[in-house]
Symmetry: C2
Subunit: 217 residues, 2 copies
């Protein structure tokens, strides 16, 4: 699959490296290619020569599946820069969380309760098939779930398009996820985004990000 990963942070890199490792054709999309190339991204890029680097628009335009791995506060602007036409008809795997660090740590949520970042993105890009997933765990476990407890933990998918959820679920399973829970339509992303306040407190308390939720039933 031709995959565009929008965002050069730890989530974007983890996803890009892992999908490339699995044989996909992967391009990271960034706001300013020259700046990214000249910055601290260079060392990572040198170790992952198989991952391309392009503008947000070029990366998205060329892809079949686009992953939103930008910061939640910058997701809508980044996707707008990527361009509605470049996103139209495609699966958008939305991993971002609407974290607001304006008042320090722990952050609050800038969207919550009666709306979600995923739904905002879907409303802004109605031709795109938004699937929320992977936003409830640390980057490494997103793509290497077997590194914790033999993969005995859960990942959620939310989305309005069944075929898009099927494609994302296939990708998750290829990473090693064994308990993919389809929560239902995209409004169920409110629930997974609102898991972040608990996640952040656990992160502080357990002194590691290497944990995840399992839904025991």
């Amino acid at each position: 699959m031709r995959i565009a990963v929008l965002g050069t942070g730890s989530v974007g890199r983890a996803l890009a490296a892992r999908t490339a490792e699995l044989g996909h054709q992967v391009t990271i999309g960034t706001r300013d290619v020259a700046a990214t190339r000249a910055g601290e991204h260079a060392a990572w890029a040198a170790q992952h020569p198989e991952v391309g680097l392009a503008t947000l628009a070029a990366a998205a335009g060329d892809a079949e599946l686009v992953a939103n791995a930008t910061n939640g506060s910058g997701s809508l602007p980044a996707l707008t820069t990527a361009g509605a036409a470049n996103l139209a008809g495609k699966v958008l795997l939305d991993i971002a969380n609407p974290l607001d660090f304006g008042a320090g740590f722990p952050p609050t949520l800038s969207v919550h309760n009666t709306d979600s970042l995923a739904e905002r993105i879907q409303r802004e890009f109605p031709q795109t098939k938004v699937v929320k997933s992977l936003n409830t765990m640390t980057a490494e476990l997103m793509v290497y779930p077997l590194r914790l407890a033999d993969g005995e933990h859960s990942v959620f998918v939310s989305g309005d398009d069944a075929e898009a959820k099927r494609i994302v679920t296939g990708l998750l399973v290829s990473f090693g996820h064994t308990d993919v829970i389809d929560l239902g339509d995209l409004s169920t992303a409110r629930g997974t985004e609102m898991l972040l306040p608990l996640w952040l407190r656990l992160y502080g308390r357990l002194d590691t990000a290497n944990f995840n939720v399992k839904i025991v039933r």
Copy 2:
């Protein structure tokens, strides 16, 4: 321990029956004793003659530990009726969730993100030691955790008073809980109350309330 359970719903009954079974002296507090006695509560009460029934104020006044098992929307009024003096100096185990069913199912949260029901209660009753716990699972699993996956799932405690959390943790362990996670001060209850939107969607999806979260690490 002398325990008052405020609330006659499924959570209140489960907690009252289980703590009585464990040898505590338990009284259910209700707004209108005569109405509760004459209503559908009568059959349950007949099966649990060891559990007392009293007004909110009498039950709280007589107890060492008070459990708030009222509906979240009615918790502050119920506790006000119970009386600040009757709650002063005591541990208040707050199990309620601020669910707002005004727009149907699934409910939204009436407090969230930068505040929680637990913190509201604490601010209203500063002489009381509020501990939030058990609000992230169905009533039966609160008090019989071993009935699911041999107890291999997690329960959280949040509170500002270390001794009060120790007392609540002891109670949880006596129920059979093996993974009690102390999240920190009472503001961490925002995280567990905000787990409810996910819990409610899982409830809809899994078609059972017999599930719980385990924090795998």
